[in-house]
């Protein structure tokens, strides 16, 4: 300190530099004029969960098989699922009711991590305020279901990885089914060739 008050003057110089700098330096003017200017969200950004469906029809393309793992693992217990049943009362691998109460949801992404069917994913929509406390904050199945192309538009990398995994699974299943069918069709020939590859080590 050279003379009394020099510390204050030094501080004021910083303020002045920031004030003047805010007109020229991008670093010092960080305000985004929100409704006109929208932030570009990073790919990882998340808000609330949604359900992915393949193709064009949400009902038939739904990936969810109503296994209820997310319902069980959800820390604040905000997911509610009822499994669908056909006329005979037999359970179908599809949810009849799938509700997420986003006034309870804490956006932790654990449902996404535990879902074995790549069905539940995190949305990026953040403009969810409503006048109604109960109705519009409980997302039901029609509101939750969003297409795979939407998923690709918000999380491109993650969605591509997911598609790769699903494709690999499908190919594996198809190969297994084909092998099974071939085995059933021509047991003597195929079993000899498949046993050599699948049951190595057996005499």
């Amino acid at each position: 300190m050279i003379f009394p008050g020099s510390g204050i003057l030094k501080g004021l110089a910083v303020t002045a530099r920031n004030f003047a700098g805010s007109y020229v330096e991008k670093d010092r003017l960080t305000t985004e004029q929100y409704p006109e200017e929208r932030p570009k969200l990073p790919e990882a950004a998340r808000s609330f969960p949604f359900l992915v469906y393949d193709g064009d029809n949400p009902e038939t393309g739904m990936r969810c098989v109503s296994c209820k793992i997310c319902e069980k693992e959800c820390p604040p217990q905000c997911i509610y699922i009822i499994q669908d049943r056909d006329e005979a009362g037999k359970a179908i691998k599809r949810p009849k009711v799938f509700d997420i109460d986003i006034s309870v949801c804490m956006s932790c992404q654990i449902c996404v991590e535990v879902c074995p069917f790549e069905s539940i994913r995190m949305d990026q929509d953040y403009e969810l305020s409503s006048f109604d406390r109960f109705g519009s904050l409980i997302l039901d199945k029609p509101k939750l279901l969003k297409s795979n192309s939407y998923y690709h538009s918000i999380h491109p990398t993650e969605a591509a990885e997911t598609d790769g995994r699903i494709e690999a699974d499908r190919l594996k299943k198809e190969a297994a089914a084909a092998a099974k069918a071939a085995k059933a069709a021509a047991p003597s020939v195929v079993s000899a060739s498949s046993s050599s590859s699948q049951q190595e080590g057996k005499p």
Partner: protein, 374 residues
């Protein structure tokens, strides 16, 4: 003032500060008894933000307790995540992936940076300089929060660490952005110091206010910057060497008299040391998996036993004491929050000071009510 007989036996007045007051850092209430302007008694009242954290964790799975830890000290979610993950790893004997250790150090030090920067702004707000310093501080903090968002998906409720590692790998380009930010950070700290540390008003408000001796700090169970400001060389990063902190070179700054000014400056110095750790960590971070593939997350059942995992959080020693009974839920889930325990000496520090200093003293301890009330 003997010529004013009514002042010979002065009446005291009770003032309720808070719970909704911008300087109480949340919903914290102090019932202060004043003799004139001097504080003669101070009674903290807390619990307004109590949300049953420990019991909720005991009713949920081990993994499901992780996102709740974000909400403890909501300024620094990633260190909270780490403390819990560390306790569980100790309990179940899980090895942490090498790359994840580096990511943990980087995110924890970034957390410390933004916490200390926010502290500088808040403490100025407590002194009445509401605005300027806080806006500059939050401008820098926002850059770090943007990094957190691109890495973990959320600015504050990160939920990023997992048992044996971290949830996901660094996105492409993240390290470069971080390196740029870290390299530019000392410049911001210089600017902040030019703005603040020489300011005569700030010195008058902070120096000599509520000093704490080293003995008192140790006996009061203080930890973190408050303890080190009192002159005690105790940093859990050095004492425990948890994670991979023994690989980095850094110094532990210490205060001399433990007054508010020491508590203020120690944050600036610690932020500078954090920048050093970040530079070292970013330079040598290895490639590899970010989570131990053997570690189970869902349906995780650690063997029966107990463990106490603690880390040097930005506010002090954050510990998780866990008891497992072999089931998929913790039998006991106890948190040792630094904010609550650093708050226990508040009355002692405040009695005898002026009412206007109470805010500064509370601010210099650096509490977050999410952690105090749990």
């Amino acid at each position: 003032m003997s010529f004013l007989p009514s002042l010979e036996s002065p009446q005291t007045i009770d003032v309720s500060l808070g719970p909704q007051h911008p300087s109480t850092h949340g919903v914290f209430r102090m019932n202060v008894t004043l003799d004139g302007e001097t504080v003669t008694r101070l009674q903290p009242v807390f619990g307004y933000l109590h949300r049953n954290h420990e019991k909720i964790a005991e009713g949920n799975s081990w993994l499901a307790a992780m996102p709740y830890t974000d909400r403890l000290d909501y300024i620094c979610p990633l260190t909270n995540n780490w403390a819990y993950a560390l306790a569980v790893e100790k309990l179940a004997g899980i090895e942490v992936a090498e790359r994840a250790e580096f990511i943990r150090v980087i995110t924890a030090e970034l957390t410390r940076l933004q916490n200390h920067v926010a502290f500088l702004g808040f403490v100025l707000g407590d002194m009445g300089a509401w605005g300027t310093a806080l806006m500059y501080a939050f401008r820098e903090r926002e850059k770090i929060l943007d990094l957190f968002e691109s890495l973990t998906g959320a600015r504050m409720m990160c939920n990023y660490m997992r048992f044996g590692g971290c949830r996901c790998d660094l996105p492409p380009g993240w390290l470069d952005t971080t390196r740029k930010l870290v390299d530019g950070f000392p410049k911001f700290l210089d600017e902040m110091e030019a703005l603040l540390t020489g300011n005569e008003i700030l010195l008058a408000r902070l120096q000599g206010v509520a000093p704490m001796t080293a003995d008192r700090a140790i006996n009061g169970g203080m930890s973190g910057p408050v303890l080190r400001a009192a002159g005690v060389d105790y940093d859990i990063r050095k004492v425990d060497n948890y994670g991979i902190y023994n690989r980095f070179k850094f110094r532990v700054p210490r205060g001399t008299v433990g007054d508010c000014y020491d508590r203020f400056m120690i944050r600036v110095l610690e932020a500078r040391e954090s920048v050093g750790i970040l530079k070292q960590a970013i330079a040598v971070i290895p490639e590899g998996p970010v989570v131990n593939p053997k570690a189970k997350q869902r349906g995780f059942r650690p063997p029966a036993g107990e463990a106490y995992g603690r880390i040097e959080g930005p506010k002090g020693e954050l510990g998780f004491y866990l008891i497992a009974d072999g089931s998929d839920k913790p039998y006991r889930f106890r948190i040792r929050p630094p904010s609550l325990i650093n708050l226990t000496l508040l009355e002692e520090l405040c009695v005898g000071t002026k009412i206007a200093d109470v805010m500064v003293i509370l601010g210099s301890i650096d509490i977050v009510l999410g952690e105090v009330d749990r």
